[in-house]
């Protein structure tokens, strides 16, 4: 193709032999808006990291295949070199310095300088900044975007929407920009701001700049993009012209049918109708996982799944209930109100929690398995203590041996440090600790994160076993839809900090895809799935 600006040719990337990108072939043409979508872990960010030559790629042995620009191979070793090729990125989290003016941010480390008598002696770095020229350049970039705000305004007080535009202005200001990557640009914007942004993106494309638009908002993509590429599990599923497809099809392709849901016993699962946990209007201030008003309830004995895309607040729910991040709202547990922001009380009332941050919050990596298993029960319920209030090593040891046998923790001894275990066995230690607390309700977040495939199934089976044999109520949060669907009785999908809907595990893929993208609300009644 003659006007093919950028092409990925047979690009693959592996981390320690684990392929996260497999044989990607993708062409981007000048002036087109190319949408890139996929679930978390589908490979979008890895692909962009390759494009920008991020160190995470080079430090792990580079990649296979080739990236070409205008038919010539590119060799980008750092994000800074990418600028020379005319590639820019508008980040999801703003790369703006709040204490600087718009101009200073736009010109960050690309300041225009002029000579003075000191720089003549002491060198380049002592050249004066030419604020006048810098302001003029900034003005020009802002005008392209139709922003009528003064270029010398501080960024600190700007509305979020404006900040996004400053980011874009910075990229436009770079001379010879040919390709701009937008990473979820509208995720933080209000609807009207998002509309402005999309218009600006269209204008940019019309001026001949190629746009790669990463977003999960399917309605945006269908109204904005020319073509859409869907990635799933590191593979390029399809590249389609947007006018030949529709939201439902895209959603379906994004989630995919590769899930092998083995739920032979699904019909037989029974649990009581009694509500154990009732959450109303929960808001949680967990950075990056804000929860903005969530209602749900959990019935006794059921396994409830919480799913959704990263950054939409699914992880914030468990952290908020447990009081690990500041929360507000109302929670009833076993008919009694549960105090917020008080982890100790929550644990004491019979709730156990396995954090998604297993190595940071979940375990003492340098302490023995024994102590890791016993600690919370010791601290909260006063177990394993001698009459004098000292640790009762014998009881701790006996309990640990029982857990090691019951959960099949592979270790050399119960005195081995937790950090020496594999991910799966570490998770089992966490489960062991939770069981030692004898909880009525178990919160478990990302139970299989960082665990190899063989061990994943063991953990999931263990959870199901707990539910069936001990009748434990479990709330499981996971980024992997497949694992939620394999053991949960019902699944709450969280989108933009709120509950988008509740689905049965055997609901069609498209429904999951649409809900995670927040597109289901806009489709109501219109398109039957």
């Amino acid at each position: 193709m003659s006007d093919c600006l950028l092409s990925f040719k047979n690009v693959s990337k592996s981390y320690d032999g684990n392929y996260v990108l497999k044989n990607i072939n993708l062409d981007i043409q000048a002036g087109e808006i190319h949408a890139l979508i996929g679930e978390n872990g589908a490979g979008k960010s890895t692909l962009m990291n390759i494009l920008f030559g991020m160190s995470v790629i080079h430090n792990t042995g580079g990649f296979e295949g080739q990236v070409e620009m205008n038919g010539k191979p590119m060799n980008v070793k750092s994000p800074h070199e990418a600028i020379d090729y005319g590639i820019g990125m508008v980040h999801q989290e703003f790369m703006l310095i709040p204490g600087f003016t718009i101009t200073e941010n736009i010109k960050l480390n690309r300041e225009i300088t002029r000579n003075n008598f000191i720089s003549a002696v002491l060198g380049e770095r002592l050249k004066s900044l030419d604020y006048k020229l810098m302001n003029m350049d900034a003005r020009k970039a802002l005008d392209v975007l139709g922003m009528d705000i003064e270029e010398y305004t501080m960024v600190a007080g700007l509305p979020v929407g404006h900040m996004q535009f400053v980011e874009i202005a910075r990229e436009i200001d770079k001379t010879g920009i040919k390709l701009l990557v937008f990473d979820e640009p509208t995720a933080v914007l209000a609807e009207s701001e998002a509309a402005n942004l999309l218009q600006a993106v269209r204008n940019l494309a019309a001026s001949g700049i190629a746009i790669i638009f990463i977003s999960h908002r399917l309605d945006e993509i269908t109204s904005l993009a020319d073509r859409v590429t869907i990635l799933r599990d590191g593979e390029l599923i399809v590249t389609k012209n947007v006018k030949d497809t529709n939201i439902v099809e895209i959603a379906e392709l994004m989630v995919g049918r590769n899930v092998n849901i083995t739920r032979d016993d699904a019909a037989q699962r029974t649990y009581s109708e009694e509500i154990v946990l009732d959450v109303k209007g929960l808001r949680v201030g967990m950075p990056g996982e804000w929860v903005k008003g969530v209602d749900f309830s959990v019935k006794k004995g059921e396994i409830l799944g919480i799913g959704g895309l990263a950054g939409h607040g699914k992880l914030g729910i468990a952290n908020g209930v447990l009081g690990i991040y500041p929360a507000s709202g109302e929670i009833q547990f076993q008919g009694r109100p549960l105090p917020l922001n008080n982890t100790k009380q929550v644990l004491a009332s019979g709730i156990a929690y396995l954090s998604e941050d297993r190595k940071g919050v979940g375990l003492w990596l340098d302490e023995s398995i024994e102590l890791n298993i016993a600690f919370t029960a010791m601290q909260i319920h006063g177990e394993f203590l001698s009459p004098l209030g000292l640790q009762d090593s014998k009881k701790i040891h006996e309990n640990a041996l029982k857990m090691i046998a019951d959960l099949d923790i592979r270790c050399t001894s119960s005195l081995q440090t937790a950090g020496a275990l594999s991910g799966g066995n570490q998770q089992k230690v966490c489960v062991g600790r939770a069981l030692t607390q004898k909880p009525q309700l178990l919160f478990i977040s990302e139970p299989t994160r960082g665990i190899d495939i063989g061990a994943k199934k063991l953990i999931l089976d263990l959870l199901r076993q707990l539910s069936e044999e001990e009748g434990m109520t479990i709330v499981m949060t996971s980024s992997e839809l497949a694992e939620l669907r394999s053991i949960c009785d019902k699944i709450i999908i969280v989108c933009e900090g709120q509950v988008a809907g509740i689905l049965q595990p055997d609901a069609p893929d498209a429904e999951f895809g649409l809900m995670m993208s927040g597109a289901n609300r806009k489709l109501e009644g219109g398109l039957a799935v």
Binding site: R125, Y131, Y152, P326
Partner: protein
């Protein structure tokens, strides 16, 4: 009664009562009864002030944001009220002597703050380089102005080396730079003490073995050494190095006042005009400009009156050391100039966000090291200016107080650990030195013992640092909390 009123009431009773008790006791020499009356009056006044402030929330938040400065202004005013033995002439003389002595040191703290390193307690290491250089120059007995230049030449490479090492350390203790600076300055002091107490004469020979010191060493050299020839004396007289910078050019103090006031006035007006013409430079503040101009004109008139009437008291004020003043002014201008260069912008970028600066291609580590080196070298020069004014070197103690006092002064001047400017240095040095001059007399007036004033000094120095650092953390926590509530 709501929570806020109650809080105001409690604060007024505690602060107003405390101050009022001692103020009245001091003013009227009244006994306990006078103190009680004072306490009640004081509490009332503070409560009234708090109430009035609550009517002007903008002013209140301005004062709250500059609470350290406000406390000091109040303290200095109280000092003027209660002390009778310090005359105005005395006060002016002592104040400006110490202002000229300390300003350069204070200015050396600005750049690290802007580069995000916080208050550089490591300037003590710069002071150590200066003292080493000074001792060398005394050893070779280079006199007067030439000697001062020799001190500068000798101290600079030392300070650069130490600054570079300190910068390296700061890069490895990110987020804890201030504590690292404090500790490394103790460490450096230890090495410095070892060298000067023992190594000189003990390891480094000062004379051929067996030689009689009196025969091989000059008088100055012998005065430098302990009688046995090992170690430097506790106190070293700087001889002709005293006033080697101050003494180059002196003008009558009144003339200096006129020059300074006119210069400041011109600067105010130019700033105002520039900002008015070009709003991108910042907001022009007419009220502040007028207020500043009035103060300047006031000083010009007063000085003129003194000159014309040949007022014996004020004509006799110690002449102003113009060379030192020019050097300080040059550094102030150079600091501001530097901040408008590419390097200055890099300092600011790194100071605001290391991560964003790095992503933008700025070499963060090198920039931070450079900021530390500049600060250390400036501190060394500042220490030389300080010492040439005092005239004697307290070999083993002088450097150690410099860090604390300079940092406290900056904080009093309204700087924080993340924000500092030239004006903070000057406001700070004026207020802090005022406190220093007034507190012994206040101790005598309020408690009947000047020693309490001494204690109070120390209390204020550490108290100010503690309050400023505490406030910084408290504000950070509050900002984080506000963010959650949004």
């Amino acid at each position: 009664m709501d929570k806020k009123t109650l809080r105001n009431l409690i604060v007024s009773v505690v602060i107003g009562g405390f101050l009022g008790f001692f103020a009245l006791r001091g003013l009227f020499g009244g006994g306990f009864l006078g103190g009680i009356v004072g306490a009640i009056l004081g509490a009332g006044i503070v409560y009234l002030i708090a109430y009035l402030l609550s009517l002007f929330p903008k002013l209140a938040s301005f004062l709250a944001n500059n609470i350290v400065t406000v406390i000091f202004v109040a303290f200095v005013l109280l000092g003027f009220m209660v002390t009778k033995e310090i005359t105005l002439k005395n006060y002016i003389e002592q104040l400006f002597e110490s202002v000229f002595r300390n300003s350069f040191l204070l200015l050396s703290l600005i750049i690290p703050v802007i580069a995000g390193l916080g208050m550089n307690f490591g300037i003590v290491i710069g002071a150590i380089s200066a003292q080493l250089a000074l001792i060398l120059v005394r050893w070779f007995d280079i006199p007067s102005t030439l000697g001062f230049v020799a001190c500068i030449v000798a101290s600079t490479p030392l300070a650069m080396l130490f600054g570079w090492l300190t910068g390296k350390l700061y890069n490895n203790t990110r987020g804890q730079e201030m504590i690292a600076g404090l500790i490394v300055s103790y460490f450096a002091s230890g090495i410095y003490l070892f060298i000067l107490l023992f190594a000189v004469g003990g390891i480094i020979p000062v004379a051929a073995k067996g030689a009689i010191l009196k025969e091989v060493l000059t008088r100055t050299q012998r005065n430098l050494l302990n009688p046995l020839g090992v170690g430097i004396r506790v106190s070293v007289d700087l001889g002709s190095l005293k006033y080697s910078l101050d003494g180059i050019w002196r003008l009558p103090f009144v003339t200096f006042t006129i020059i300074a006031a006119v210069g400041f006035l011109a600067w105010l007006v130019i700033q105002y005009m520039r900002k008015k013409k070009n709003p991108s430079l910042g907001k022009s503040n007419l009220l502040l400009t007028i207020a500043g101009s009035i103060v300047c004109v006031f000083f010009v008139i007063i000085s003129a009156i003194v000159l014309i009437t040949k007022n014996a008291t004020y004509m006799a004020l110690r002449p102003a050391p113009m060379a030192t003043i020019i050097v300080i002014a040059l550094l102030a201008v150079a600091t501001n100039f530097l901040l408008k260069t590419k390097l200055g912008q890099d300092f600011r970028s790194v100071g605001q966000s290391q991560q964003i600066a790095r992503v933008s291609g700025i070499n963060v580590d090198r920039t931070r090291i450079l900021a530390t080196v500049i600060s250390t070298v400036l501190a060394a020069w500042g220490m030389l200016i300080f010492l040439q004014n005092i005239g004697t070197l307290g070999t083993y103690t002088q450097h150690s107080q410099i860090g604390m006092f300079a940092v406290a002064s900056m904080l009093v001047g309204g700087a924080t650990t993340s924000k500092a400017a030239v004006k903070n240095a000057f406001i700070g040095v004026l207020l802090f030195q005022s406190m220093f001059i007034l507190s012994p007399a206040m101790g005598r007036a309020l408690f009947g013992n000047p020693l309490y004033g001494e204690n109070f000094r120390t209390f204020m120095v550490y108290g100010v640092i503690a309050i400023a650092l505490g406030l910084y953390i408290w504000r950070g926590l509050k900002a984080a909390k506000n963010k959650v509530e949004e």
